[in-house]
Symmetry: C2
């Protein structure tokens, strides 16, 4: 099957309608999955370890008749270190460089989200305290989609935030462990690794079992069962966003080697047949060259079939009037990954209102950011960059307000509060403020 | 009915079990509500204004045969200003003081969440940009539960964040407008007020209609229909947390006037029969005094019936071993409102790991914070302070990563990325990085 990538022109009368249809993506909810997940969660909540053990033996086809105790699912720190030591030198070094850079970037993030207190003239102290979560669960998919880079991107921000317990769950279908995933856990600050997965792992982390303390938040990607389970335990624990298909939007002024842009589009399209890769460019001749590069380079790609489906079904090469219009369209798309492959890219970046991550200049391929630039690769998809952010240290922190009203402050604030409380018909609120208006000395305890 | 508040002792063998049962709260999902809301949302998405008009005329019993166009639901800036001007002087002044203080506090919050960029030795620039949301919807309940303070607490952080369009929706059952709510909108930075409510208003804000541009996030409290609608549109837009019943936990060393503590417990209990008010204290005699104060003060409260049910069903006076244990228990409860009514309260505050807001010292009644201290009164309930924060400026901002890799940076990062990408079986990712290893000069556009 040859790739058939659609070409659009922003001057066409139906352009906006066509673009909206192309961008539309609604996650289907599957009733069978919902029912199964609801049952598994209830069961894990009621029976704890026994339920987790049964589901894991069954769904992950644990060999030798299955595990007989939860302890068999724990991977000790020694085994993680061993996995790291056994990696080929180049892989170990690459993983370490990536981890170091991710850590450095996220430490800046921590510095940028601070608490504060200030004292008013009457002695009243107000403030905001920023503290880490106690305990976090990191879900890591097993099998083919096991990505060590995701271990780094999910665990390191939690570690930098100061989370004391970072519990990683990763299923091992047929008992097979991914050594690079274990190696990544060894350097990311993960404190415990448990080889369980699916809705049962989400339930165990959210509700706790005899051997697993309940966590405060669960992050990390997973299949439809995991996503459904995360949605259901939200409220009992925090969760990260449920990710849609991955997207790249390349905004190019026509000065980048067309092969580079074609390959950047492939690097998104190879993820998944639902992934979306779109080029915006004011230069029709350049767009034609990128299309030629696509046809030239595609046959050599191992994942050509996935790329072909993705580009044909959800990709587009869009001719725009100029770079200004390209920035307008890019803001409305609010892409997960936005490459501005142009000279002096910052002038265009300043016009972008929404994007998960912006890759500026022709050397900033998305793939560099996916692995090792430092910023997180967990990014808002499906236009949610309009209101949400990359995964970060702030996702593993929470804030508490501090209010210490002085005796003098209580006199002025008390009258204001009482007036408003009576206006709202909340008399106990008003009385509680008014009692402080005529203070009596503290009593001995 | 006399109030029957349970008394617990932390040394009792079944204390933890009893406390867990007391704290447990699960929001029920009502199938009839879910079905109705799903239908309304689909209808608003499909038919826009026509559907909103029909539902509003029907559910809010709009008089004179109902409205005939959406324009009739818009309240102009002049009418808001008029509502403010017509308020009794004391109320207008109180509202203004509260708004000013909330604004000042949230400006500090904005300063505490900043972006950054840094340049590496090879010229690579990395950073994080913090920008406001474009358009936000504020839901304000109508009728009895219309709280002007909630208008301030929801709208001002959005305004401080720099959100350009702040669209408030407020139902007006039987066509009755709450003048204090309109006055609050006038000073909070709301840019448009529409008198619609319920699931139809949530749908209109999320999907947009002919006369309402879709927003990026919807915040604010509402009834069960509103909560169900917000849950359903989450993903299309951002939402704030769905709040559970309000809670106060008072941690007292026995030095505060027992009447004050009793009234503070009332001020929570008067909200709602499901509200929860709990006292932790190491001094049994003091607890007895608070109980006497409760019996003495309760008959004079206009909302005595609600307070009685709330305290009897969900309240508790808990004797603890000492203040250290009180702090431990308080951390595990992770209360929405935590009063530390004690001398030198900061020593205990430093031991608290989780709380929405901490009110320190005997002059810091929760009611002062509810109205006018400055910090937000929208706080995480039902133990979610373990992982979430007060509503704040940060809820109306989002972050974008900035990645500008230099040519030199692409040489070192490209090798790292390619190694990891091959390890994950993502060859287009690897090739995209490798293409930058042997750069060709940029082409003329």
């Amino acid at each position: 099957m040859a790739v058939q990538i659609r070409k659009l022109d922003s001057t066409a009368p139906d352009f906006k309608t066509t673009l909206d249809a192309l961008l539309a993506f609604e996650a289907e909810t599957d009733d069978a999955i919902e029912t199964a997940v609801a049952h598994i969660l209830r069961d894990v909540k009621a029976r704890g370890d026994a339920a987790v053990l049964e589901y894991t033996n069954k769904f992950d086809r644990i060999p030798n008749g299955g595990a007989t105790s939860m302890a068999q699912f724990d991977i000790g720190q020694a085994e993680l270190e061993q996995a790291l030591a056994a990696l080929p030198e180049a892989q170990r070094a690459a993983l370490q460089v990536a981890a170091d850079r991710v850590r450095v970037f996220h430490e800046r993030q921590k510095d940028a989200s601070t608490g504060f207190t200030f004292t008013e003239p009457d002695g009243t102290v107000l403030g905001q305290r920023v503290t880490p979560l106690d305990r976090v669960g990191i879900y890591v998919p097993g099998g083919k989609a096991a990505y060590p880079s995701s271990v780094l991107m999910n665990a390191i921000p939690a570690h930098v935030a100061g989370v004391k317990e970072i519990i990683m769950v990763v299923p091992t279908p047929d008992g097979v462990k991914n050594q690079m995933v274990l190696a990544a856990a060894a350097i990311a600050g993960v404190t415990r690794v448990i080889t369980i997965g699916g809705a049962q792992a989400v339930g165990a982390l959210a509700y706790g079992t005899e051997t697993i303390d309940p966590v405060d938040k669960i992050v990390g990607p997973g299949n439809a069962y995991v996503a459904a389970a995360k949605r259901r335990v939200f409220g009992t624990v925090g969760i990260d966003m449920i990710a849609g298909p991955s997207e790249i939007l390349v905004l190019c002024d026509g000065t980048t080697d067309p092969d580079w842009v074609a390959m950047d589009l492939f690097s998104q399209a190879e993820h998944d047949e639902l992934a979306q890769a779109i080029l915006l460019c004011p230069d029709a001749d350049y767009i034609a060259k990128v299309e030629q590069s696509i046809h030239k380079l595609l046959p050599s790609m191992p994942r050509a079939a996935t790329i072909t489906t993705s580009l044909s079904d959800r990709g587009a090469l869009i001719k725009v009037r100029d770079m200004y219009e390209a920035c307008e369209i890019a803001s409305s798309i609010a892409a997960e990954h936005l490459e501005i492959s142009a000279v002096e890219p910052m002038q265009w970046a300043d016009k972008i209102r929404h994007a998960g991550a912006m890759f500026l200049g022709r050397f900033s391929s998305e793939s560099l950011g996916d692995y090792c630039c430092g910023p997180n690769h967990v990014l808002p998809t499906s236009r949610t960059a309009r209101f949400s952010s990359p995964l970060g240290v702030y996702d593993f922190q929470k804030r508490s307000s501090i209010i210490q009203v002085s005796e003098a402050g209580a006199q002025t604030l008390g009258k204001v509060a009482a007036t408003l409380a009576y206006g709202e018909g909340l008399q106990a609120h008003a009385r509680s403020a008014e009692l402080r208006l005529n203070p009596v000395p503290p009593q001995a305890s």
